[in-house]
């Protein structure tokens, strides 16, 4: 879909838009950069998983041991011996220790944060323009996005 638009839009129009709305170029850059960074991290994690044959985390032996093929048991939540990091600190530690699942989860987190970062940039630009209505609207969305992480945890 995206390609189609860029193919059919003349370059001078894009340049014109960029001149009239300088912020949009940054937004577009952040979105694309986030997706590329995330995809690269996930791909590196998958390659490491293939090469080492390890997820980087010990699997619960009482639920089937450390055989990687047990990861296939995601059909049933309760019997799965699969372990992967969920909280930010654990994901970060997994990344710096180059654990395959740590790298993948960090990449996926980057992806989830990308739209949030975009809204944050939009909020900042409305604050700078002193546009109260849209500052409040974008802050409301940021609040809901932040709430989603805590809401997920709270329910346990």
């Amino acid at each position: 879909m995206g390609l189609l638009v860029s193919k059919s839009l003349p370059r001078n129009v894009i340049r014109q838009v960029a001149r009239k709305h300088p912020g949009t170029l940054l937004l577009s850059l952040v979105l694309r950069g986030g997706v590329i960074l995330s995809a690269t991290l996930v791909a590196i994690g998958l390659v490491l998983l293939f090469v080492t044959g390890q997820t980087g985390y010990t699997l619960d032996p009482s639920k089937g041991g450390s055989e990687l093929s047990n990861l296939l048991a995601y059909h049933d939540e309760n019997s799965a011996s699969l372990y992967f990091p969920i909280n930010p600190l654990e994901i970060w530690q997994g990344l710096i220790n180059l654990k395959p699942f740590g790298i993948i989860m960090f990449g996926l987190t980057v992806l989830i944060i990308t739209p949030v970062l975009n809204i944050l940039l939009i909020a900042l630009s409305y604050i700078r323009q002193r546009n109260l209505t849209y500052t409040l609207i974008s802050l409301f969305i940021l609040a809901v996005l932040t709430l989603s992480f805590f809401l997920g945890k709270a329910g346990g």
Binding site: F84, L111, I112, T114, G152
Partner: protein
């Protein structure tokens, strides 16, 4: 690592590529196909399937949104205004969804698949919207804007109406999105076309922008709950992303009429199978 593990990862990746390609060709995301395929043919737990789908929805939406924003087709003000409703709906849906049993989710999914097929089957009105009288909310929020139409080769100004009813529909679209891990563009775009009278290109671009933010809200819940399983989400997200790039490349080289019809048939088949699965008729 065992051969079976490698083969399953590869199979998941290939299926995700196919779903992403088809999704981009049809103008719907890959999410609407990937969850049925993972649950029906791979026997994946439905909550994990939804978690993986949510992530791939963010990837495809952000990729496309980057292009649309640069082309100024996205109406950011309308997007933000409606996202207040979609994000609230998404966390409602995701929060409720993790407690719902499989059969209930399969049934809702069957209904949404059927609805999407119907929306696709109805031809969208390509004509430029008639004179639109902006309502009070649209005026206060300055929702009207203009864009460069590459077919007409001129700037097109447009006004907006129906901001309030659209907000209600968007809450429902958000709930569906959070519940099922799909972008629910099939609900968002018609709402913007019919209620707000937006030009077709603006509603498509703005819907794309909103889908990423909405999915991020539900992804937060699914991530914290441990339903974003790297073993499943990694090949699926990469595959769908790659597939959507391929799909948008193919889109300008293939005749879309045939693809649309094939996609509608696929949606109906999947709807039927999800319906059967909801009632335990089985495979």
């Amino acid at each position: 690592m065992g051969l079976d593990t490698v083969l399953v990862l590869l199979a998941l990746f290939m299926v995700a590529v196919a779903a992403g390609t088809l999704g981009a060709l049809a103008g719907l995301g890959g999410g609407i196909i990937i969850v049925p395929v993972l649950t029906l043919f791979f026997g994946v737990n439905v909550h994990y399937a939804i978690g993986a789908s949510v992530v791939s929805v963010i990837a495809t939406s952000c990729g496309a949104a980057a292009t649309y924003i640069k082309a100024n087709l996205t109406n950011i003000r309308i997007g933000l205004f409606l996202e207040m409703a979609t994000t609230l709906g998404a966390i409602t849906g995701a929060f409720v969804g993790v407690y719902l049993a499989g059969p209930v989710l399969f049934f809702i999914f069957a209904v949404v698949l059927g609805l999407s097929a119907f929306v696709m089957w109805q031809k969208r009105n390509q004509a430029r919207p008639q004179k639109v009288e902006p309502d009070s909310w649209s005026k206060t929020l300055k929702l009207g804007d203009h864009y460069y139409d590459s077919v007409l080769k001129q700037e097109v100004a447009y006004e907006v109406q129906g901001a309030r009813p659209a907000l209600g529909v968007m809450y429902v679209a958000g709930v569906v999105s959070g519940l099922l891990g799909i972008g629910s563009g099939a609900l968002k775009v018609p709402a913007m076309d019919l209620l707000m009278k937006l030009p077709i290109k603006v509603s498509s671009a703005t819907s794309n922008f909103m889908i990423g933010v909405t999915a991020a809200a539900s992804a937060g819940v699914y991530l914290a709950r441990g339903y974003i399983n790297p073993y499943l989400a990694a090949p699926v997200a990469l595959g769908v992303l790659l597939g959507s790039v391929a799909g948008s490349w193919l889109l300008i080289r293939l005749r879309s009429g045939v693809i649309r019809r094939l996609f509608i048939i696929l949606l109906v088949i999947l709807a039927f199978q999800m319906f059967l699965k909801a009632f335990g008729v089985g495979f």
